[in-house]
Amino acid sequence: MSVPVLEIRNLHVDFKTRHGVLHALNGISFSIARGEVLGVVGESGAGKSLTGSAIIGLLEPPGHIAGGEIYLNGARIDGLDFESMRHIRGKKIGTIFQDPLTSLDPLFRVGEQLIETIRTHLPLDEKQARARAISLLADVGIPAPEKRIDAYPHEFSGGMRQRVVIALALAAEPDLVIADEPTTALDVSVQAQIIEVLKKLCRERGTAVMLITHDMGVIAETADRVAVMYAGRVAEIGPVRSVVQHPQHPYAQGLMGSIPPLDQHPSQLQQIEGSMPRLSAIPKGCAFHPRCPLVIDACHQTQPELRASGESFAACIRAGEAA
C-alpha cells in the first residue's frame, strides 16, 4: 500500500480559556489515500472545521495542537515553522471555505489573486501565470475566462465566485484539497454544479479531497469513505456505502436515518433528539451516551476506541447492534 496523502494520528486540539482548558478535538485519527474523497459529517460544533484548520496549521489562538501527529505524504507537518507551513498551504494543500462571497479579496481583480497565488508557489513569470490563471478559470467553468480574469469578485455571482475559489485552491496542483462546506452558503440551485466541478477537477488531477459537508446526499454521491464526527471525536469511519447503508455507531445510525432517495433533492442531516454537549460539558465516558438509545452502564465510564465493526470502524462498545 502506498503512503496516504494525509494521515492524522490521535490529534488533540485544546483551547486555553479563562475557565480552563477546553478539549475541542479529542484524539482524531484518519487517513486519506491519494486521489480519495473523504467525506466528513457531523453536527455543527463537532470539530470538522477545526480539524481542517489544524491540518493547514492555521488554528486561531488560543487554539493549539495539544497532541498527536499529522503526516503529509509520509512527512510530519504538525509543528513545522510558519514559513515551511506556508509552502505547504496552497502548494500541497488547497483550501476552500464556506463563503465564496467573503473568501476573495474585494479590492483585487480575480486575475491578480490567481496570479499572485500561482507565482507564490510555482516558478512562472507574469505572462505564464496569467495563461495558467485563464486556463484554471476555464477549467472551473467560467465563461469567457480571458475577459473575466480582469473582473473584480463583486462582478461574479455567488456560484461563480466559488468556482474562482476552487480555481485558487487548485492553482498550484495540490495533493489534497480541504473543502469546508463549500456549498452551504450558496443558492440551492448551484450547489450541485459546484460539487460536480470540484469532483471532476480533483478526479482528473488525482487530488485527494477532505469534503466537509452537512449534505448527506453529496456525501453519498461524492465520497469514497466517510468519517462521522461527534464532540471532537470520530464516531465512525468507513466506506461510504457501508456507513450510509449500515451505520454501526448509534449516532451515525441516527444521522443516516433519513437519507433521501436519490431522485429527490438531498436534505440536511436528520435531527437527533437532544443536542451535542458544549465543550465545557462533555460527559465522561462516551460523549454521545446522554443521547444514545443503546446506552448501558459501561458507556458512562470509558471512552470507546475505534474498532472494526461491519465494514467500517466505530467508536462504540455496542457498535453494530441495531437501534
Binding site: 493547514i56 492555521l58 510558519f82 506556508r86 509552502h87 505547504i88 498551504r89 496552497g90 502548494k91 488547497g94 483550501t95 471555505f97 463563503d99 467573503t102 473568501s103 476573495l104 479579496d105 474585494p106 479590492l107 483585487f108 499572485e116 497565488t117 507564490t120 508557489h121 473584480y152 463583486h154 462582478e155 475559489v165 485558487l168 485552491a169 492553482a171 498550484a172
Partner: protein
C-alpha cells in the same frame, strides 16, 4: 460616473448656499452694521444715509441676492477693524494656515498610519502597547496644553526651536508667502504642526489599528493565508489596502478639522494665519471677517468631502460599479 460627480456637486452647492445664508444672517441680525461705521454723535440723517448707501433699506431677498452676488466674486466686504477688504486680509494669511495644516496632515498621516499598522501587527509587543498608551494622552490632552508643553520643552528649556511666528518667509508666485524655503521657516513650522497634528495623528493611528485588526480577522485574509501567500503580501498588500479604504474618509474629514482647529494652535504660537485673524475678529465683533471665515471653512469642508467621495470610488471597485450603474 459623471452623473455621480454632478449630483455630488449639486449637493455641495446647496450646502454652500445655506452657509452663505447663515453668513448673511450674521451680518443682518448680529448687531447693527451701521453702528460699526458711525459714531455715537453722528446725526440721525447721516446714519440713515449710511444705512441707505449700504443697501440695508432694501427688502431682505434683494439684500440676500446682492450678498450672494458679491460673495461669489470673493467680495466679502470691508473689515470693521482694519478698514481693508476682508478678502485681502484672508489672502494674506491663508498661506500661513494652509502650510501649517498641510504639515500637520502630513505628520498625522505619515506617522499615524505606520504606527497604526505596527500596533495592529505587533498587538502584544512592548512598543505597540507603549504607542497605544501614549496615543491615549494625545487624544485626551487639550491642544493648547500640548502646545505650551512643547514650547516649554523645546523653545524655553532647550532653546532648539522658536516659540512663535513663522520665521523667515519667502514670497513665491506673486503673493504666496512660504516658510518651506528657509531654515528658520521650517524650524518655526515644527512645533505648531506637531501641536496641531498630534490629535489627528493619534486618532488615525487608533483608527488604522482597530480597522486593521478587524481586517486581519476577515475571511478573505484567512483565505489568503490558506493559499500560502507570504506574510508580507497578506499584511501590506491585502490587509493594508482593505484597512485604508475607510481610513480615507476619516483622514479627509480630519484635514478639514485641522484647518478649522488651527485657531487654537495659531493663537498659542502667534501664528499669523486665518485662525488668529478669526479670533481677533470675534473679540472685536468684526462680522465681515467672521462671515468670510465661516464660508471659507465650509467651502473647504465641502470640497474635501467631495474629493474623499471620489477617492473612495477610485479605491473601492465595488463602489465604482455601483456608481457606474
Amino acid at each position: 460616473m459623471l452623473a455621480f460627480i454632478l449630483r455630488r456637486l449639486m449637493q455641495s452647492v446647496l450646502v454652500l448656499v445655506v452657509v452663505v445664508l447663515l453668513a448673511f444672517t450674521m451680518f443682518r441680525f448680529v448687531g447693527d452694521p451701521v453702528n460699526q461705521i458711525v459714531s455715537l454723535d453722528t446725526p440721525a440723517e447721516q446714519v440713515a444715509e449710511v444705512r441707505k448707501s449700504l443697501g440695508l433699506d432694501d427688502p431682505v431677498p434683494v439684500q440676500i441676492m446682492r450678498y450672494l452676488y458679491h460673495v461669489v466674486q470673493f467680495d466679502f466686504g470691508i473689515s470693521y477693524q482694519f478698514r481693508q477688504p476682508v478678502v485681502d486680509l484672508l489672502a494674506e494669511r491663508a498661506p500661513a494656515t494652509l502650510e501649517l495644516a498641510l504639515m500637520s496632515s502630513l505628520i498625522s498621516l505619515l506617522v499615524g498610519i505606520p504606527m497604526g499598522v505596527y500596533t495592529a501587527l505587533r498587538r502584544d509587543g512592548f512598543f505597540a502597547r507603549l504607542f497605544q498608551s501614549i496615543s491615549l494622552i494625545g487624544v485626551s490632552l487639550p491642544t493648547f496644553l500640548i502646545g505650551i508643553l512643547l514650547i516649554y520643552l523645546f523653545a524655553v528649556t532647550l532653546g532648539w526651536l522658536p516659540s512663535f511666528g513663522r520665521g523667515q518667509v519667502v514670497t513665491v508666485y506673486g503673493r504666496w508667502t512660504t516658510g518651506f524655503l528657509t531654515v528658520s521657516g521650517l524650524k518655526a513650522l515644527i512645533l505648531p504642526s506637531i501641536t496641531l497634528g498630534l490629535y489627528q495623528m493619534t486618532l488615525i493611528m487608533r483608527l488604522v489599528r482597530s480597522e486593521m485588526l478587524e481586517v486581519l480577522r476577515a475571511d478573505h485574509i484567512k483565505f489568503a493565508r490558506a493559499r500560502g501567500l507570504t506574510t508580507h503580501s497578506i499584511h501590506f498588500r491585502h490587509a493594508l489596502k482593505s484597512t485604508l479604504v475607510p481610513v480615507i474618509t476619516i483622514a479627509g474629514l480630519q484635514l478639514g478639522s485641522i484647518i478649522a482647529f488651527a485657531v487654537i494652535t495659531e493663537t498659542v504660537f502667534q501664528w499669523p494665519g486665518m485662525g488668529a485673524l478669526f479670533l481677533k475678529a470675534v473679540q472685536n465683533v468684526d462680522i465681515p471677517i467672521m462671515a468670510a471665515y465661516l464660508m471659507i471653512i465650509s467651502a473647504l469642508f465641502v470640497s474635501i468631502n467631495m474629493i474623499v467621495d471620489l477617492l473612495y470610488a477610485f479605491v473601492d471597485p465595488r463602489l465604482r460599479t455601483t456608481i457606474k450603474n
